[in-house]
């Protein structure tokens, strides 16, 4: 089912968003770092901070929201919903395949971001040494943190036929996520808002953002635990709704 989901996604124009978003993030981060070298300290850390600043804050979650809408769009078209419902697959498998395929696209998005940060840092900005190895696990942690966002947006896109309405709700989620995380008073709540998890994971070890945690086992563990629990819950809820309600 995952392969067929990826085949469906390949036919949509969604790969453009998945590639162009990290390209824009790195381009803007590079220009900003280059233009403010007298203000910023030099090195890989400040450069990565600039590249993921708005990306982690807002655009990664919004990108996932658009991807989820695109993933469910074809099911709402024509008679595809009826076809989907008559397949022998269980609701949990249908929803799971959507979430896993979205996770794979997000992984590709993160890899593009990582490779571009390494290439531009080395070849364009001439930063000393190799990019720190910690960037790879942090990028993968952001994929784990994006799973509940993918699950939530998948649920919304499944329930709402409109392509754009779930994205608008995702924007509200981003606002809540940023407010709970950067407001400094979110506490446990910041681990319950999916979009806040993406921001927390993207900003691990990021000196440019106040309130971001260091890369340590407790911070990583809290994000992984929260992301797993939220994803499981939203997956179950989506399957439950799909099995009980005619949402097509």
């Amino acid at each position: 089912m995952i392969v067929s989901e990826l085949a469906k996604l390949r036919r949509s124009s969604l790969w453009i968003v998945a590639v162009v978003l990290p390209v824009l993030a790195v381009t803007a981060g590079t220009l900003n770092y280059h233009g403010n070298q007298d203000v910023l300290s030099s090195g890989w850390g400040p450069y990565r901070s600039q590249a993921v600043l708005f990306y982690g804050l807002f655009f990664m979650s919004m990108g996932v929201a658009v991807l989820a809408s695109a993933a469910w769009r074809m099911e709402h078209r024509g008679n595809n919903w009826n076809l989907l419902m008559t397949t022998p697959a269980r609701p949990s498998a249908i929803v799971g395949a959507k979430i896993v395929s979205l996770a794979l696209v997000v992984t590709a998005m993160q890899m593009v971001l990582l490779v571009l940060i390494g290439l531009t840092g080395t070849w364009v900005l001439g930063l000393e040494g190799a990019p720190p190895w910690e960037y790879v696990p942090v990028a993968l942690l952001a994929v784990v943190a994006a799973l509940p966002v993918a699950a939530l947006q998948s649920l919304l896109s499944m329930l709402i036929r409109s392509f754009t309405a779930p994205v608008a709700l995702g924007l509200l989620g981003c606002a809540l996520g940023v407010a709970t995380m950067l407001g400094g008073e979110g506490g446990v709540v910041s681990y319950l808002v999916p979009q806040a998890l993406v921001t927390s994971a993207s900003f691990l070890g990021n000196g440019a953002v106040s309130g971001s945690a260091e890369i340590d086992p407790s911070a990583v563990g809290a994000i992984v635990l929260s992301a797993s629990a939220l994803t499981g819950l939203l997956w179950w809820l989506s399957a439950f709704v799909l099995s009980r309600r005619d949402v097509g």
Binding site: A28, L31, G35, R73, T164, A165, V167, L172
Partner: protein, 255 residues
Amino acid sequence: MIRTAVDLEVRKTRRMRVWALCLVMVVAVVVLAGMSLGSEATRAGFADPDARPWERLLLNHVMVAAMTSPILVAVLAGRQVDIEHQGQGWTLARTAGMGPGLLCRAKALVLGTALVSTVVAQCALLILAGTVAGIEPTPPLLLWGRYALCLTAVHLALMGLHLWLAARVDNQLVGLGVGLLGAFYAVFSLLMPSWVAYALPWGYYAAISPLRMEGGDRLIESQPDPVLFTLFLGGAAVLFLTACRRLDRAEGGPA
């Protein structure tokens, strides 16, 4: 004929909860822009006019509006046009004597009203939030009002573009993707040299900023280049009306 079309569009907005979407966006902008009002460091300067607390709040509004407005415009345009694609609305309207161009103009009028209301609500709620939080100096209403006017104008110009895009391309992923990338461009234009803001339509969300930072932490007043801004708005209006006329003349639906 345009009055009938506008009347129909108003009815569609009710069914599609356009006003609820606008409310969501207003809440998102007010929450993001007003977030700093709770921090101790910001509150320390509430009584000090030299700390310019209102101007800092306005600058937050500019940044958050640049980050979210392109998505808001793309979402509203996409939602209002997608129903025509899904329900054969173009053909139905054509049989009633209303071409796709006329329909797009009616949509622009209705969504334009929604966008104006959204901007007014954002500004009013942010000023209210600042007052309730305890900012003591008088709010710079003239500066804020000028920004609201410019923001509305940029909203309307980009809405024309997104309506045309949503009408021409059946897949709403394209319009929303363009809006998302436009938002990225808009917010980074705030950090780039000013010419970057004038290079693409979304950059005007940064160009209209009424304030800018100078020398690290000093806020100074600023305004968009009047010639370029007028050319942008005039060009957008002419292109939208021309595109609508072409849509009316084309056979079949616009996509």
